[in-house]
Amino acid sequence: MIKGDLQLRTPDRGSKLPASSRLLIAVFVLLVLSSSSAFASDSRGEVDDGEAGEASGSIVLDVYLDYEGMALIVGYLKTDRLEELDFLEGSELEYDEDTGEIYALTDGLTSMLGEETRLEFEAEGLWDECHLAFYLPKDATVLTVSSSEELAYSVTEAEGSMLVEAVGYEVEGAEVTIDYQIQG
């Protein structure tokens, strides 16, 4: 029964193509593969030349905030443009180029607007992978969140914190802004 079903189905799959056509298609695929590779190589060369400054990287950061708006940033960051990253401006920084491990301590991510706190994170550049986790104090009430178009964010309660998590791929300029208020 089963065998019969299979035999019925497979013959009408395209085994009727003449050998010459198969050859043509195979050659076509081969040519496109090679041209695709060449094109990709050229593209990469342009990036390597540093013309546009669009070198891509990866960013995976956990950001821990205390009640005063001080932030500890830890994680993985691969970029050759570290000095151009806004979120590191004015921070105390330890960065290992080999492993990509980063530790940064900063109070520059947050600002006070009355009783509200605004967290602004901005990492310019093209990021192949971007995963940001902001651990706000548990008492925080998240009012608004905005992010780069390519980032999707979620707001959940986790590990005794309010967790705002943003993930995305091929992100051009990773930006996350969070307005929150500490209760009590």
Binding site: I2, D5, L6, Q7, R9, D12, R13, G14, S15, L17, R22, V29, L30, V32, L33, S36, A38, A40, S41, S43, R44, S56, S58, V60, D62, Y64, D66, Y67, M70, L72, V74, Y76, K78, E92, E94, D98, T99, G100, E101, Y103, A104, L105, D128, E129, H131, P137, V142, T144, V145, S147, Y153, S154, V155, E157, E159, G160, S161, E165, V167, G168
Partner: protein, 351 residues
């Protein structure tokens, strides 16, 4: 859909995948990994996973990326959906403890020393982009055996949806699906295959997955000295999808059936590991022009226990079925119609 059009379309998508992979970038590895890689070859991910317990010494980093893959999912209606998968290895930190350290006005060096001196273990976390949808990975299980690694995880999404501020944030995440991926690695070529099921929403359904590392030499060409090097993986993927229309231009016709002999037949059954180990270099010529297999039938039949290729749609379900040309659609039909014929991998999702 006309099988020829579908074949060409899938072939085109293969090229797209090659392009995606080519846009990959080298990820730095923790120092401990370098020796491992030298020993095991340039495959990064497997080496990382094999070594993920850091038993070999060296300073562990807080966060590292252990899997970064791009690929395609093939649905039951033959739709192809781009996929990106990332898994991170993260040292668990207690946010309240970090806040306490921040409150003590310590220097960064002191905080770092405290964190590194703590005894928190490592966890894996990850996320998946599936078409336009995002999922977080939970209950993530990674295991490694020789050159094969297996990932299993729940797909989660926020109860209130993405990009929404919940009224009750404690409601957290809800189960949205399940993913299973097996990755094999040899000679720098890496290919992952598996299954994915999504329970609801616009992507609801079951899918087969083909993934290539976006890190260095995967299916792509990024870290290969020239484009021929990259063919091993791309052919593997491409042949899986186009293997049907020639009956001879499947994996067998691409030289996989002549492993170790420089191409001339006779073709024989090869295992997944052998298949993936094959490279144009080892054959000494482009597999497309491999004499002895080109247009000569050379049916490739993966062993019955070759889970990866069978789930890719490349494998004959059973030798006695006499199927020498395989097509993704065929396999999907079978997956739906005859789940008992499926590999253990597929049975997890299609029963």
């Amino acid at each position: 859909m006309n099988p020829w059009i579908r074949t060409l379309f899938l072939g085109f998508m293969t090229l797209m995948l090659v392009s995606f992979a080519d846009a990959g970038h080298p990820l730095p590895l923790e120092p401990i990994y370098h020796e491992e890689i030298l020993v095991r070859g340039p495959g990064l991910v497997a080496a990382q996973i094999v070594d993920m317990d850091h038993t070999g010494g060296g300073p562990p980093v807080l966060i590292s990326i252990v899997i970064s893959e791009v690929g395609l999912a093939l649905g039951q209606a033959d739709e192809l959906i781009p996929v990106r998968l990332q898994v991170e290895r993260v040292r668990g930190l207690d946010p309240s403890r970090v806040r306490m350290l921040l409150g003590e006005n310590r220097t960064l060096g002191e905080i770092k020393a405290e964190i590194e001196g703590a005894e928190e273990g490592y966890i894996h976390r990850g996320n998946l982009r599936f078409g336009h949808a995002h999922y977080l990975l939970e209950n993530l299980s990674l295991s490694s055996e020789e050159l094969n690694t297996t990932l299993e995880a729940d797909l989660m999404e926020p109860v209130w949806g993405w990009c929404a501020i919940p009224d009750a944030p404690e409601s957290g995440l809800e189960l949205a699906g399940r993913i299973f991926v097996q990755t094999s690695l040899a000679n720098g070529s890496e290919i992952g295959a598996g299954s994915l099921v999504i329970f609801s929403g616009p992507y609801a359904g079951s899918y087969a997955l083909v993934l290539a590392s976006s890190v260095g030499p995967g299916l792509g060409i990024a870290a290969c000295p020239d484009w021929m090097d990259g063919l091993a993986g791309s052919e593997l993927f491409g042949a899986c999808w186009i293997g049907d229309w020639s009956g001879s231009l499947g994996l067998g016709s691409l030289g996989f059936g002549s492993l170790g002999s420089g191409c001339p037949g006779p073709c024989r059954k090869v295992t997944v590991a052998e298949t993936i180990r094959f490279s144009p270099e080892s054959a000494g010529m482009p597999p497309f022009f491999c004499p002895g297999c080109w247009m000569s039938g050379c049916p490739f039949e993966p062993e019955f226990d070759d889970v990866i290729l069978r789930d890719l749609g490349c494998g004959g379900l059973r030798p006695d079925l006499g199927v020498h040309g395989w097509y993704g659609g065929d396999v999907f039909d079978m997956m739906v119609d005859e789940p008992n014929l499926l590999s253990p991998l597929s049975e997890r999702f299609w029963i």
